[in-house]
């Protein structure tokens, strides 16, 4: 049985990749992921803010109150070398590369074109096999048009593509007016892969303290539907490889995503909830399913249920809405 797949030009032994999460901050976890069968690993994102602010923050607190009072001209010993966030991240890439044989995909998260993009080059130098760009952007400015928002993504993509030779994937938000048009633009600007979709952590309100609180809710399998639809729609229309992420919890989820057209499926919540060995369980499930249905290769199923290849393409479109509602019977 051939589980191999190609993603961003990387030859992967199977289509299961742990997506960016804190799990990958620990080299031991990355080793466990490889042992459990992961085909590649995406490291947790290095944030633009981290790059911009960490050194400023350290400088601020180390010098705060210094040179103000004759007895305490400083408050901390001097260290000649600090490994500020980015440096530590680069070291982490190197360590991950040394520790495992599977490809290591670095992740860069930011919203502006600026100096921090240099870190994509440093990631490449540190040994990353590819870069996943995560543009986490909430356009709150009412004067900013949709085109301008899209241009922001394109500009960042171009800047990173110009900086590195390794493949660059872009993790997208599902909130674009015209996903097809926008993904085509990304495609034209050389994106190597699209990771669909980014799960924005939505804020909550703490009624006790009247504060907005960022609490993380892990995904459920239902979250799968949104990327599934768009991967199915885009399959065959763009050159970029697609990765399905959000709501991948079981072997069935993986298979559905592949059939929709994904080259790889990415898991995060399922691993946080069930632990890293869950990869093996899902992988075994995929194998069993394939064996039972006599699929020789992953390749065979990739895109088989895409809009292009299904019997009723409209099932991915508006018409489908009507059917879906009709099928719903409230539990009264």
């Amino acid at each position: 049985m051939d589980l191999k797949t190609n993603y961003l030009g990387l030859k992967l032994k199977n289509p299961i990749v742990p997506s960016a999460s804190p799990l990958a901050n620990d080299i031991d976890n990355i080793k466990k992921m490889e042992d459990a069968g992961a085909a590649a690993v995406v490291l947790e994102s290095l944030f633009e803010e981290q790059i911009r602010h960490e050194s400023k923050e350290l400088d601020h607190y180390l010098q705060f109150g210094a040179e103000s009072f004759a007895e305490a001209l400083t408050y901390f010993p001097q260290a000649n070398d600090y490994r500020i966030g980015p440096e530590e991240y680069l070291k982490h890439i190197k360590m991950a590369k040394d520790a495992v044989d599977i490809p290591v995909i670095a992740s860069l998260n930011g919203v502006t074109v600026g100096g921090w993009i240099d870190y994509s080059r440093k990631m490449e130098q540190a040994g990353a096999d590819a870069i996943e760009l995560n543009v986490y952007y909430i356009p709150t400015n009412s004067r900013l048009s949709g085109v301008e928002v899209e241009n922001l993504y394109i500009d960042i993509l171009k800047a990173v593509k110009a900086a590195v030779k390794i493949p660059v994937a872009m993790k997208l938000s599902p909130f674009f007016s015209s996903m097809s048009h926008f993904t085509r633009r990304l495609d034209e600007n050389g994106v190597d892969g699209l990771v669909m979709f980014n799960r924005f952590y939505q804020p909550d309100i703490d009624l006790e303290n009247l504060e907005v609180t960022p609490n993380v809710i892990l995904s459920t399998p239902h979250a799968l539907r949104l990327p599934l639809r768009w991967i199915a729609i885009l399959y065959g229309r763009i050159k970029a490889d697609m990765a399905g992420t959000s709501g991948i919890h079981t072997a069935e989820d993986v298979i559905k995503m592949l059939m929709a057209g994904a080259k790889v499926t990415m898991m995060c919540s399922a691993l946080l909830r069930n632990g890293i060995p869950h990869i093996k369980k899902v992988l075994d499930g995929v194998k069993t399913w394939m064996a039972e249905r006599e699929y020789d290769s992953v390749n065979l199923m990739q895109g088989s249920m895409s809009q292009k290849n299904v019997a009723d393409p409209s099932s991915f479109e508006r018409a489908n809405y009507q059917k879906a509602l009709q099928s719903y019977r409230p539990n009264i």
Binding site: D59, E71, P77, E88
Partner: protein, 1193 residues
């Protein structure tokens, strides 16, 4: 050989040599010597090696006495060992110094010479400490400037090995230790060439070792001790020659020739001054000037003060000399002259006693004192002394530099006399501590020193506050060597980095004609002239000053620099001064930025670069109109309402005119009135809290946490609102305890530091706009005038009757008047809320023994004190003895109060027939356990005093003097963890077991905060501190648990930010307990590297992580069979790491030593879990014990 030119301070110069020539370095922090130890520790942790290729081992001890003991041991065991200290620290080393010298042990201690605590402590420089050790048998070698510090450090290390006499190498605290000077750095080869390895081997051969066992340190008896003491004479006799030989060898090697006694001046001078230390450089400069004016003068710089070589001394003095002034930088009250004077007189007298005596008769020799506590010593003073020597009978035992109008010792000098060469550029910079001015100027002087041919010098003056403090930088540079060891008083360039200073300080008085003035202002260049105060405009016109302006605030804001205008103003200085071509200057500034900030990441570097680039385009020269247009005069320093004492003395010090205060105006015994901070009105906050009565729930938390007592609440009758200012806010009181009363929270906006702690803890939110609370920060300036009136009105509203308040609640305690207010502590200080709370609860009957440290500085550093008084004139009486003896000091107070109280009671009993049974019995049996009891007893004592006046018996008079002791007094012993855990622990331990009723408040910041963040035994594992650069590897000492083991001690561990009610309760219980109590209070601190506004959150996290379990142990409960140990915080609910990551002290280790950090944080997590578990188990055990036995141990 060409040597590296460096621009460093005296401390670094000494440390460089000491580190290279030592194997063991034992230290203890004390200003101004701490820098030497810190650098040694830093180099050791970086793996730097000494000249023998090994990394010196650096250890921080629990006191200077401990450091001396450890060194004694290291030296006896064959190591080359050194230390650095100052002042009281040196005094603590004296016992060991006798031993080390008696055993002929080579070593060098490098001393930042500093004043001793007498009528007051002073951190500044003089020779009082050095002179207190001249009898110990140590050689004493004086350096006069940073270059000499490096040179003579090496000469001392070389000479000690050969002479076997230990050396004190000393130089003036601050003036030399902290002066940044361009100098030549000695190379390792230089050091190797001077240090004779054979002598090192000899030292090692004398080591105590079981392989060649000997006994050293015996006890000797009358038969032989005397002879034994005389055995060392030959060593002392040969030491001067050894030192001179080392100096000569050094001269051949390096080119700088030193002499034991170095004469500078006319070869046939008739008048000479003898002195040592930094003042000698100024004297040298003045002599050079006076020679050019054909004055026949000279000075003798004493370098080797002990052993004093009469032979070399006499040799150095010109035969022509007729009169000599010997200047001592110390005072020995009651002596017939200060030590150097007496030595000179003796030396001359003895020298006459030979056939070939150089002098056949004694010249006129007078002694004088100068420069105590870094008092300025200027060319004018030198000239004055020389002029005095011209008189037929020059004044003896004079003082110079002050006005002594009591015993008339002082010589008058001309403050305008100036001899500085015109070609030396002199620049003064007035900045705020927080704006980075000093750091930038240190970089500037380094650039000038290291990148140009100029000689360069930088010296920095700080004020006495820890928040909103002003710094003044004095930079000199030019083609001529700089010998001026005094502050600049005539400057070519003056920069004002904060425009508010223009209203407070007359800085242009320092400007010479044609000087340049650089002003950071938010006013556009075309408008700035009219915004200047009138005196500033006048000075600019009269002195034809060129004015440059920049809106540095704007540039800082736009380039992400926040409030730090340092880089911007530095760039302006280079752009205007032309000391370097513009492009080169900018390149050098950027290079310095890279060196300063590079280690902290590229972004900070880029931000500073950006600021540099943006500066030049925003810098403008202002065209000066031809007339004064402003009518804005500088406001008076203090209000007209201030008492005369404050106006005449305190205000003068505040205005920077303390140098002109005559002796007659100073208190004779160091006693000062309290309640003086309230006259300062520092106006340092840009934003202040504003109360919203609609939203307020009247919980009192804002007042509780306010570190500066600038937020107060009052409850009062409506009638008092009658004449309220229009903007005065008031609302109905919400509680049941005071029905129909009014309630106000008032902010003293002119005293507030703007720290925002109050806003952070305010639990009430505006229901319409949840971003708002009941206290919100708003811009101070527009509020200043109306709130000044409101504050004054608020103070007039009567304080509540203390008997009516539930003092054990937050709200209730905050109705009590704080008698600790507006201290100079850091904004958002974590210690002062506790101190203030204690003052609210017991201030009207408390005595405070305060250990040296932050609390003694914000509590007792002139010009003002925050310790205050109530309307009856009662308030805390406060004193600071030393760092190490505070527990004993407080115990002494208790003993005295108890004795006086006991005596008073005895007298009451004896006078019962005259006083009357009722009053006597009521007094003797009074219950004073609460405010009502105290109030009633005070009434009785007042009655008693009245009666006593009419009783004609000696006992009545005696009772009158001690009657106040019949009212209960509360003794508080306060200090930081450095005192309680380390240097004062022995005494503290003893006091805990004394059984006496003292209350010990340990303000635990887990680090030596006052001296700049050195590790103490309270420092938690994994935290970075000085002397724990790689994270503290061992856990925090648990002082609370140690105290708990004694059973008879009330113990509480509190953290206001975690549980404020618990804090109040614990303090009340501790005070109530009739025995020793210790409260250990978690105090967030600027030295933790945290957002201070959120300090209370850090406290909470410390508790929630288990790092700081809250508990109370009450021995009374144990006796009563109740639960004695109450664990008052819940089991850890957040990992230690989460707490740690809120603080730079832990977080920086993850950046500097990630692997070590991981291990230590894991262990720290275990420490926290264990600590909580241990207290819980203890509580269970004690609970079981009382339940089982039903009490009474």
């Amino acid at each position: 050989m060409s040597r590296l030119k460096v621009t460093i301070d005296g401390n670094e110069a000494a440390a460089l040599v000491a580190f290279k020539t030592s194997e063991v370095i034992a230290i203890y922090p004390i200003t101004p010597s701490s820098g030497m130890g810190e650098l040694s520790d830093q180099w050791s942790s970086e793996g730097q090696k000494n000249i023998w290729g090994t990394i010196p081992s650096v250890i921080e001890m629990q006191s200077e006495g401990g450091a001396a003991g450890a060194l004694h041991g290291a030296l006896q065991s064959g190591s080359l060992a050194t230390t650095f200290t100052s002042s009281q620290g040196l005094l603590l080393m004296i016992p060991n110094m006798y031993k080390i010298a008696g055993e002929l042990t080579p070593t060098v201690f490098h001393i930042a010479a500093r004043s001793l605590a007498a009528q007051a402590l002073s951190i500044f420089g003089d020779h009082s400490d050095i002179m207190s050790t001249r009898q110990t048998g140590w050689a004493q070698l004086a350096s006069n400037n940073p270059q000499e510090v490096m040179d003579l450090a090496l000469i001392a290390h070389a000479a000690t090995l050969e002479s076997r006499i230990p050396f004190l190498h000393f130089f003036d605290g601050f003036r030399t230790t902290h002066e940044v000077r361009k100098m030549e750095q000695l190379s390792d080869e230089d050091i190797r060439a001077m240090i004779n390895d054979d002598l090192v081997f000899e030292h090692r051969l004398r080591a105590l070792t079981p392989d060649h066992p000997v006994l050293r340190g015996s006890a000797q008896n009358p038969d032989v001790y005397f002879q034994g003491r005389e055995t060392v004479n030959t060593f002392y006799l040969r030491t001067p020659k050894i030192v001179q030989n080392a100096m000569d060898k050094f001269a051949k090697l390096v080119g700088r020739q030193y002499k034991l006694f170095e004469y500078v001046g006319s070869p046939d001078a008739e008048r000479i001054i003898v002195l040592m230390g930094s003042g000698a450089d100024t004297a040298d400069e003045t002599v050079e000037y006076m020679l050019s004016k054909n004055e026949n003068v000279g000075i003798l710089k004493v370098r080797l003060y002990r052993p004093f070589s009469i032979e070399h001394f006499i040799q150095a003095i010109p035969r022509s000399v007729k009169s000599i002034a010997v200047l001592d930088r110390t005072k020995e009250p009651g002596s017939i002259g200060e030590p150097l004077y007496q030595d000179v007189v003796t030396a001359f007298t003895e020298s006459l006693d030979s056939d070939d005596a150089k002098f056949k008769s004694l010249p006129t020799i007078v002694g004088g004192r100068f420069g105590l506590s870094s008092k300025e010593f200027t060319p004018s003073m030198v000239k004055t002394v020389f002029d005095e020597l011209n008189k037929s009978r020059p004044k003896n035992h004079f003082t110079i530099g002050i006005k002594d109008d009591v015993t008339n010792t002082s010589l008058d000098f001309d403050p305008d006399f100036d001899i500085e060469p015109a070609e030396t550029i002199r620049a003064m910079f007035f900045g705020l501590g927080a704006d980075g001015t000093v750091g930038a100027n240190k970089n500037s002087i380094k650039i000038i020193g290291e990148e140009t041919e100029n000689y360069a010098q930088g010296y920095f003056v700080y004020d006495s506050k820890k928040s909103g403090s002003m710094t003044t930088s004095h930079l000199r540079f030019g083609k001529k060597p700089i010998k001026s060891t005094y502050l600049i008083s005539k400057a070519n360039f003056i920069a004002c980095h904060q425009e508010v200073f223009l209203e407070k300080i007359d800085m242009l008085k320092y400007a010479i004609k044609g000087a340049t003035f650089l002003l950071n202002t938010h006013h556009p260049k075309d408008e700035v002239w009219n915004k200047l105060p009138r005196p500033v405009q006048k000075d600019i016109l009269e002195k034809k000053i060129k004015l440059f302006v920049i809106d540095g605030y704007k540039v800082a804001r736009e380039t992400g620099m926040g409030g730090r205008v340092n880089t911007i103003m530095q760039t302006c200085f280079f752009a205007i001064s032309g000391v370097l071509p513009k492009d080169e200057a900018i390149e050098q500034i950027k290079d310095a930025i890279r060196k300063t900030y590079g280690s902290k990441g590229e972004e900070v570097v880029k931000m500073n670069f950006h600021a540099v680039d943006k500066t030049v385009e925003n810098l403008h020269e202002v065209e000066i109109p031809d007339k004064v247009t402003s009518d804005f005069e500088l406001p008076p320093v203090v209000s007209d309402k201030a008492p005369d004492y404050v106006k005449s003395l305190t205000a003068e010090i505040m205005a920077g005119r303390g140098d002109f205060i005559p002796v007659s105006m100073m208190p004779i015994d160091g006693t000062f009135p309290t309640a003086t901070t309230k006259w300062e009105k520092r106006n340092i906050a840009t934003e202040v809290p504003v109360w919203d009565p609609e939203v307020c729930i009247q919980c009192g938390k804002c007042a509780l946490v306010c570190p500066h007592a600038t937020i107060r609440q009052k409850v009062y009758d409506e009638k008092y609102l009658e004449n309220a200012p229009g903007t005065f806010k008031s609302t109905n009181f919400r509680g049941k305890e005071f029905p129909d009363m009014k309630y106000t929270i008032q902010v003293a906006v002119e005293d507030c530091t703007g720290c925002a702690l109050c806003v952070e803890v305010c639990p009430a939110k505006n229901k319409k706009e949840t971003r708002l609370k009941a206290i919100n920060m708003e811009t101070q300036y527009p509020l200043r005038i109306p709130e000044r009136a409101n504050w004054d009105f608020f103070l007039e509203i009567p304080e509540i009757d203390r008997r009516e308040v539930k003092v054990d609640t937050i709200k209730g305690s905050q109705f009590l008047e704080p008698l600790f207010e507006f201290s100079g502590a850091c904004a958002a200080c974590g210690e002062t809320p506790y101190v203030k709370l204690v003052s609210q609860l017991y201030g009207d009957r408390m005595v405070v023994a305060n250990a040296t440290g932050c609390s003694s500085i914000y509590g007792g550093n002139l010009p003002t004190t925050p310790w205050s008084q109530n309307k009856d004139g009662r308030g805390p009486a406060w004193s600071n003895s030393l760092f190490e003896d505070n527990a004993e000091f407080g115990l002494g107070m208790r003993l005295s109060i108890d004795k006086n109280s006991e005596y008073a009671r005895e007298l009451v009993a004896a006078l019962k027939p005259e006083i009357g049974d009722d009053l006597s019995d009521a007094i003797l049996k009074a219950d004073q356990s609460d405010e009502a009891g105290i109030y009633e007893q005070r009434q009785r004592v007042d009655d008693l005093k009245k009666k006593l006046e009419s009783i004609d018996k000696p006992q009545a008079k005696r009772l009158l003097h001690v009657a106040n002791y019949l009212v209960k007094k509360s003794v508080w012993i306060m200090g930081g963890d450095g005192w309680a855990y380390d240097i004062g622990y022995g005494g503290l331990d003893h006091v805990l077991l004394s059984g006496r009723n003292v209350n010990i408040l340990v303000l635990d910041t887990e680090v030596y905060s006052n001296t700049g963040g050195q590790m103490s035994k309270a420092t938690p594992r994994a935290a970075v501190a000085k002397f724990a650069a790689s994270g503290k590897p061992l856990p925090k000492k648990d002082l609370a648990l140690i105290a708990l083991m004694y059973k008879n001690v009330y113990v509480a561990k509190i953290a206001m930010g975690a549980n404020d009610v618990h804090t109040v309760k614990a303090i009340i219980e501790a005070e109530k307990y009739d025995g020793p109590s210790i409260i250990i209070a978690y105090s967030h601190c600027i030295a933790h590297g945290i957002n201070m506004a959120k300090g209370m959150d850090n406290q909470k996290a410390a508790v929630e992580s288990g790092h700081w379990p809250l508990f109370r142990y009450n021995p009374d409960y144990r006796k009563e069979g109740k639960k004695a140990l109450s664990l008052d915080s819940k089991p850890p609910k957040i990992p230690f790491e989460k707490y740690a990551y809120m603080e730079t002290r832990f977080k920086m280790l993850t950046k500097s030593h990630p692997e070590i950090s991981k291990q230590l944080l894991k262990l720290a997590q275990e420490d926290s879990a264990y600590r909580y578990h241990f207290v819980k188990k203890m509580a269970d055990i004690l609970d079981g014990e009382t339940n089982g036995k039903n009490g009474n141990q």
